[in-house]
Symmetry: C3
Subunit: 112 residues, 3 copies
């Protein structure tokens, strides 16, 4: 199983959620975070310039079976963008095991 | 070391925390998230029906030594449930290294 | 690529952020969490004593290329501490893949 973490613009959330639903990804968790992106602008601190404003982002954490990872990633890339810098990032990592608390069962079937 | 992430009902938090304390898991972090579970009900969108209401969940992140992982998972399963759908999920992943900031020391001893 | 998660005192956040900027780590995400540390003090519950107060912490999630991990960790250890118990923890894990949403490109170059 794979964990797909996407840090997106808050304004694109409902577009991304609906696009994920359309490809069958109905279960995930999200919360709001502050993002420091790679903006080289704004004030100068010890010779390097940084963005002065932190950006409010939405963090989506989605665990899927391996054969769903590519679809999930493509769907986010195709729905979360505006074309402007700051559209966000996706990070993919491995999940060793998954459990459904109600039944105690484990494995990829709990993700369906 | 293993990271155990549990997404539980907020109403079960203190029961889960006390159960973890009883088996010696005294250190973890938590925050509140919104959960989209696998509810196939509610309004219909492009032919598929979804839950209309997002659910407030509590996200627990617990890093433990390998020999503590099973106890931690069992304790959550045994304490977080109500028997109704929506009791939550547990995800297990690998942690390569761990540091205690105060001392700079690393390794599994920093988890004890 | 590595994910470096640091759970620090909120009061040390701007010091840590500035120290990270100085070594070239300009991009990360953070949010506030509640921490249950390893404090064996406070009230007694079934024979074991626990801290009665949960602590507000700041959770930093930083994805870096492998050759930047050590610098990032050292910088956090050197900037986040007060010398008192409760300075926080750092967890390191593996990231399989990374994408920049705007361009769709993947790999370690998206972290620069
Ligand atoms: N290396 C990173 N680790 C953790 N979070 C990151 C990292 N890089 C970016 N983020 C998060 O993603 C958000 C969006 O980043 P952003 O879209 O600006 O990436 P970028 O690579 O600079 O792309 P662009 O060139 O399109 O701006 C940031 O505000 C931050 O929350
Ligand atoms: N694949 C997933 N990725 C990320 N978070 C998830 C995933 N599945 C569930 N969650 C989170 O867990 C919460 C609870 O899920 P839930 O208990 O409904 O799981 P379930 O598999 O549908 O089990 P049940 O049949 O008992 O309802 C969701 O609200 C969501 O926050
Ligand atoms: N094993 C863990 N899993 C998840 N989060 C943890 C874990 N241990 C500590 N934390 C988080 O880190 C915060 C700080 O922990 P703390 O600095 O007290 O660690 P410690 O090992 O007890 O070090 P010290 O001896 O300096 O107090 C906690 O409040 C909690 O949010
Ligand atoms: Mg950017
Ligand atoms: Mg459900
Ligand atoms: Mg402590």
């Amino acid at each position: 199983m794979k964990k797909i973490e996407a840090i997106i613009r808050k304004s694109k959330y409902s577009t991304v959620r609906d696009a994920l639903h359309e490809v069958g990804v109905n279960f995930f968790s999200y919360w709001d975070v502050t993002g420091l992106g790679n903006e080289k602008e704004g004030h100068v601190y010890r010779g390097v310039s940084y963005s002065t404003s932190d950006i409010q982002r939405r963090y989506l954490s989605i665990v899927v079976n391996d054969d769903f990872a590519e679809t999930t990633i493509k769907t986010i890339i195709n729905s979360a963008g505006t074309g402007e810098v700051g559209d966000g990032k996706i990070f993919v990592s491995n999940i060793d095991e998954c459990y459904r608390i109600r039944t105690g069962e484990k494995g990829g079937n709990t993700l369906k």
